[in-house]
């Protein structure tokens, strides 16, 4: 029996609703295979913060190190500052475990109405740098509380960081059309983005079968709504990847569907799998959150753990359910979170 120990962090808001459904679906998916998932549920998140003044205990990273993967719901609560929730949990996990790739596939499903005219067929993979760039802890304020107050934030890009994310993106592109778009802003952001361009171009030049196109982030945002079919694989910095993945998911009409894998490709540390959506306090507690993002993230986790066949089966199952229109209200349906989960299990 192939046993995988999974840290489960349901987190906050709708994370608490989609997680149990996704876990049941994963259990159903592995049934009959020689695989066992051993769930280690942790109560970390904003509730934990209210009791303990921190999002996770001091030994959280050590606790998770001993597990094979992390399955995350969503973090964020209206009562707790975002800086606390995110920099107290999500971002340290990404960094401590060197999950430097944030892999975000976004695609159209026939049951999901696109926001774009002509309902274009979209199939994009965003390879987002996940541990450096614009998200840095370096910076601060000066002259606090005076009219001269200022805040500084340092973006930090390393050759090491750009090289490894580009290498990963090149592999993804090689497995698809070979077309790679690099998101840049080298005309406005003068220190880091020209460096990004240089290193990306160097890595691509050493690779076979990949055509690189560098596109300014403003133009790329416009292109994502005007001709998304012209885009296959995108390699992007932390911030640009964040914006583009929500944008493309918005374009295909699938914010509640999109998954995200925070990968340590060398497998020296556990990787983390989560939906792209957040904790959605506005709909939390009503049982109507779309569980497909969490389920798809689960499929990516199974693939990462070496179970391509099970992952593919699960993807086919939720695709069928989506295409039949058995969906939650965000996609125009009337099913509950639990009912969508049940439909996927029935399909499996």
């Amino acid at each position: 029996m192939n046993t995988h120990v999974i840290t489960v962090l349901a987190g906050d808001g709708i994370g608490l609703e989609v997680m149990p459904v996704a876990m049941e679906v994963l259990e159903a998916a592995i049934e009959g295979h020689d695989v066992r998932l051993e769930w280690r549920e942790q109560p970390w998140g904003s509730d934990y913060y209210r009791q303990h003044g921190r999002m996770m205990p001091t030994d959280a990273i050590t606790t998770m190190t001993a597990t094979d993967a992390i399955f995350l719901g969503a973090v964020g609560h209206p009562d707790v500052s975002d800086v606390e929730t995110l920099w107290g949990m999500l971002i340290p996990i990404r960094r401590e475990f060197d999950q430097y790739v944030n892999l975000r596939p976004v695609r159209s499903f026939s049951g999901v109405r696109s926001s774009l005219a002509g309902d274009p067929e979209i199939d994009v993979v965003i390879v987002r740098e996940n541990v450096e760039g614009e998200y840095s802890a370096v910076g601060g304020r000066s002259y606090q509380g005076t009219p001269f107050e200022a805040a500084h934030q340092q973006s930090i890009f390393t050759r090491h960081g750009i090289e490894r994310i580009t290498r990963f993106a090149v592999e993804v592109a090689q497995g698809r059309s070979g077309r790679l778009v690099s998101a840049t802003k080298s005309n406005g952001i003068i220190h880091t983005m020209p460096f990004w361009d240089e290193v990306v171009a160097e890595v691509v030049a050493q690779s076979d079968g990949v055509q690189l196109e560098s596109v300014l982030i403003d133009a790329l945002a416009a292109r994502a709504v005007r001709s998304p079919q012209s885009i296959d694989v995108i390699v992007a910095s932390n911030l640009f990847g964040d914006i583009l993945s929500d944008l493309v998911a918005g374009a295909v009409g699938s914010i509640g569907i999109a998954p995200s894998a925070n990968l340590n490709p060398e497998r020296e540390h556990p990787s983390m799998f989560e939906p792209v959506h957040g904790s959605a306090p506005d709909i939390a507690g009503r049982g109507i959150a779309n569980p497909i993002g969490q389920i798809w993230a689960g499929a990516m986790m199974l693939r990462h753990l070496g179970h391509d066949d099970i992952a593919t089966g699960l993807e086919e199952a939720f695709t069928a359910v989506l295409e039949r229109g058995e969906v939650t209200p965000d996609l125009g349906g009337s099913l509950s979170t639990v009912e969508v989960g049940a439909a996927v299990i029935a399909e499996l």
Copy 2:
């Protein structure tokens, strides 16, 4: 006679094609009014750069100081690095003349097919901070040419800068629906964006009749394609405003139409008016560039110079031409740049 001296910087690429057309249209628009435009054309840009090693002469700023406004085409050439072209011309003008507001109206026209499903009626004004934030000259590289090479870029936000852009945005919102969206990323960018949120909220709290909504840039990008009608006025940092304005223009299908005013609202220095589009080297020289962005920028310039009536007349004229489908190929028409200009003049 009311004479205004206008610095004309046609610049590069299609800037050289749309500028003369827009100038003729403006001449036609002021005909019969007590206004004269005295054009001071300057040959600055990438051609100038090839001859002189700089985008503009050392006394360019002084030369322009004596003029009432700057009318810019587009800057950028495939042979010259973007950092040279932009930081050698566009960005110094914005900064030296303290044009801290970049005002970008984007709206639907019945002749222009939207990229979005259902052809939603979009009417958004983006108020972009234009002289600080993510576009800063502070930063550099370390360990150049080694495996340890890194690049650093500092974002700088001041209370002064955030206050004044928010005050301007509040006034714009007060003149419209009162709804103001602030683009933020306070959950990921921990030093500058929480500060942005604080100062924006403070300024809005001191104002009447404005409802503020702070939206994370990733969610806002998705919302711009999913429900752009829910957005009226946006206040945004330099980078976020740049991305959002192209994105919304892309959504309404009007990249070639959107104008941009770089304003020094106190009128201590000349303001600059330009289309949102760039120099478009791919179509330059073919006479098919859409001149409406440049013409609309001209209308904004006339308004800024105190001629509301003439500006409104001009806007009505090009709107009529657009709605009749007398447009360039980018909008599905077959007219040339010059022909569209002639159609607007005929309409006037």
